[in-house]
């Protein structure tokens, strides 16, 4: 059924030493076609030197995100018809991260910040003990669940202009992870979490611009999670217990 038989696709290419250069390809159009398919077609048929990244192809691994017509997206789950501008489309590497080559960004800063935000569990029990019973509908648990399905795709990170302006800023995904852990009844060190998000580039740098929430492909809400952290730190400041 496609009304068109070709798409005009511009790919921004380059690397750390070469500024990004646009290159345009004509790609055959198909009914069921994702942006990742378009990029793959180019590499497999037109220009074998094109570099990009993917793994799961079903929106679970978060390795295929790119800028598509100026919007960060998971490309394996983005149908071409959703982004096509007339008959054309522009694809580039994720914003706010160093480019390794062409469409593959270096995600290390993103994960370094995940760790810097204390984004890991602080155990209260060991493998020799039983699993803690947890009320699944408790308010705290609901708050923790809200952000737990993050696939660390970095879409929010590249959507956020605070990240763009402030290289220290931990960014929405890492802070959302911190908030999830802060609400986890099983976590032993919530103070460490609040300390980690209160420093240079912590949650207080966020301006609630909400691009994270607007573009998260999993419909998560880092904006509210970060607001939660701000509230918790302010409360702690006034001596309030959580």
């Amino acid at each position: 059924m496609p009304e068109r038989d070709h798409l005009t696709v511009t790919v921004l290419r380059g690397g750390p030493d070469a500024p990004l250069q646009p290159q345009t390809f004509e790609v055959p159009a198909y009914d069921n076609q994702t942006v990742l398919d378009v990029v793959s077609w180019i590499q497999q048929n037109a220009d074998p030197t094109l570099t990009y990244r993917f793994a799961c192809r079903v929106g679970m691994c978060g390795s295929c995100a790119m800028m598509v017509n100026g919007v960060p997206r998971w490309t394996c789950r983005t149908h071409v018809s959703k982004v096509l501008d007339g008959n054309t489309m522009e694809v580039g590497p994720l914003r706010n991260l160093p480019v390794i080559k062409d469409l593959a960004a270096d995600m290390d800063p993103f994960f370094d910040k995940w760790v810097a935000a204390e984004g890991r569990h602080h155990p209260t029990r060991s493998r020799d003990e039983a699993i803690a019973p947890i009320d699944p509908v408790a308010e705290e648990r609901q708050a923790a669940n809200a952000g737990i399905e993050c696939i660390n795709c970095s879409v929010c990170y590249s959507a956020c202009d605070t990240v763009a302006g402030n290289p220290d800023y931990l960014g929405p995904a890492a802070l959302q992870r911190a908030w999830t852990l802060y609400n986890d009844a099983k976590d032993a060190d919530r103070d460490a979490i609040l300390d980690a998000v209160s420093g240079q580039g912590g949650c207080h740098s966020c301006h609630s611009m909400g691009s994270c929430t607007a573009y998260c492909p999993n419909e998560l809400d880092p904006l509210s999670a970060i607001a939660g952290l701000k509230r918790a730190t302010a409360k702690r400041f006034f001596g309030g217990r959580k």
Partner: protein
């Protein structure tokens, strides 16, 4: 001053300003009817301890608030970092405070 303390200072100064802003806008709407004149303004404010305290606190809060706000913008939009940024914002804050104090003195003394 940690990043967090700056944040708290900015939020708290904003909250301090909130009632001032409402009164200030209200007074302006009331006062501007039929045009403004120096005598009118000064007649209202001069010698009043209330307005002195009112505008005095307002100026202190706004200097803190605006200096911190500009510090953020200097960082994000002008790429200023570290000590340079802190110094520039401190100068801005003190400058605002000085000019503001002078103005408050002028209209209320």
């Amino acid at each position: 001053m940690s990043e967090f303390h700056l944040y708290m200072a900015q939020r708290l100064s904003a909250l301090v300003m909130a009632p001032f802003v409402i009164v200030h806008i209200g007074v302006m709407i009331y006062a501007i009817q039929g045009g403004l004149s120096a005598a009118e303004i000064l007649g209202r404010t001069q010698g009043s301890a209330f307005w002195f305290a009112f505008y005095g606190l307002f100026v202190v809060a706004v200097s803190i608030h605006a200096a911190i706000g500009l510090r953020t913008i200097l960082g994000e939009w002008a790429g200023l970092r570290g000590g340079a940024r802190d110094a520039v914002s401190a100068v801005i804050g003190l400058g605002l405070l000085a000019l503001g104090a002078q103005a408050v003195w002028a209209v209320t003394a």
